[in-house]
């Protein structure tokens, strides 16, 4: 699997640290209550198919990247800086 870093171009998967589902882009408000926070921290859609997850370009530029990919085929569709995806 190779991942396209928006800054550095296509790189080996080993340069990236996998953080998990890109839920961090929709973080609940601090006072959203325990159910919302439990759901955010623990529960996952865990789709068999297209998903968005968050990777950190640890061995490169240090960017946080939202990777749109398929969990069944391992195809990487597109990548985006988390900074831009969140705004």
């Amino acid at each position: 699997m190779r991942i396209e870093c928006p800054h550095c171009g296509e790189r080996d998967r080993r340069e990236f640290y996998y953080v998990g589902d890109a839920v961090a882009l929709a973080r609940p408000a601090p006072d959203a209550g325990p159910d919302a926070w439990d759901d955010y921290l623990h529960n996952r859609d865990n789709p068999a198919g297209d998903t968005n997850d968050l990777w950190y370009h640890e061995g490169g530029c240090g960017a946080w990247i939202v990777v749109s990919r398929n969990t069944v085929t391992h195809a990487v569709h597109r990548t985006k800086l988390a900074q831009k995806a969140a705004s």
């Binding site: 998967r13 080993r14 998990g20 921290l41 529960n43 996952r44 068999a48 998903t51 997850d53």
Partner: protein, 417 residues
Amino acid sequence: MGYSGFGIIKEGLFGQKGWKPLWRDPAPKARYDAIIIGGGGHGLATAYYLAREHGLTNIAVLEKGHIGSGNIGRNTTIVRANYFLPGNQEFYSHSLKLWEGMERELNYNVMHSQRGLINLFHSDGQRDAFVRRGNAMINQGDDAILLDRDGVRSHLPYLDFDNARFPIYGGLYHPRGGTARHDAVAWGYARGADQRGVDLIQNCEVTGIDIENGVVTGVQTTRGPIKARKVGIVTAGRSGQVAAMAGMRLPIESHVLQAFVTEGLKPVIDHVVSFGMGHFYISQSDKGGLVFGGDLDFYASYAARGNLPMKEHVMEAAMTLMPMIGKARVLRSWGGIMDMTPDGSPIIDTTPTKGLFIDCGWCYGGFKAVPASGFAFAHLMATGQPHATAAKFRLDRFRTGVGLMDEEGTGSQHNLH
């Protein structure tokens, strides 16, 4: 039909023509007392113990493929009880005891081989951790022996003891640990359940779970609707999809774990051995193939195949530990879909829907748990109460933070286990 040595000799003399299928191939009935979704090891064991322990025989196991086609036929076959935390300890201890009586009870040869498991350590700190783990195992009533270098050498003379980076300091020896023939475990439980009247329905995929006023009433399948007042979800890596049919989101992310097997070799590795400074473990199958594996690839995946970086890590660890392995040729590798929870421990619990139960989150350690998971899940489904050995596998422990079982001590968070 019971199996015996006499029967095998008789069939040998008469052309092996008397063997019969191990289970029926029934069509689904319109209604059962209970339905198990998932005909893997855990699901089959659940059905078996529901019938044997609780007298529930009007039950069905629904399997979308064929019996034994999932993780039960794709794992590295290790059976052990070397857990450290309360909750896990009593459960795996119970499981190992069930393993030890399984062949006699099922009248089926699962080739359970208690050849001993040795977890190696490579530093003083690791030795301390293993001393503590070994004491915990002994307190639980299981067996653990701390081996020094010479002790390890007497068992495993072929290791690279003086490796420059990772010299071997010793190992924690668990003599009752070992391996079993994974497919036979599925077949043995399937046969045992079928003999007690359980319908094993293959090629029957569940497409919906019927719920009325918060109570489960049955399931929709590719072979028509089936009614039942109790439904158990035991679908391993696919738990998320099945639970979604009941409107649930689970604390589970499915990951890929790879395994490898070499060409058949003469007996060379007598134990199950794990490396302490990289994720690598190995045993030799009775056919002669070296069966080994490592860590997750560490990204969500349903592909049932992995990528090259983890293959490279596993091969490097193998060469570091036992350089002789470089002469063996890898025959094949594959990947399984692991239902990973945030703390790395499983879930056997009720759900917010009355009559709906779930057994999932076995991460990369489900095989050894098969008998005790089936035993405990059957108890829960039959009585509504958790079995004493699995009382801590609660679904709400992540929400409350009470009773998290982070065996590796890395933190209760997705992506860390």
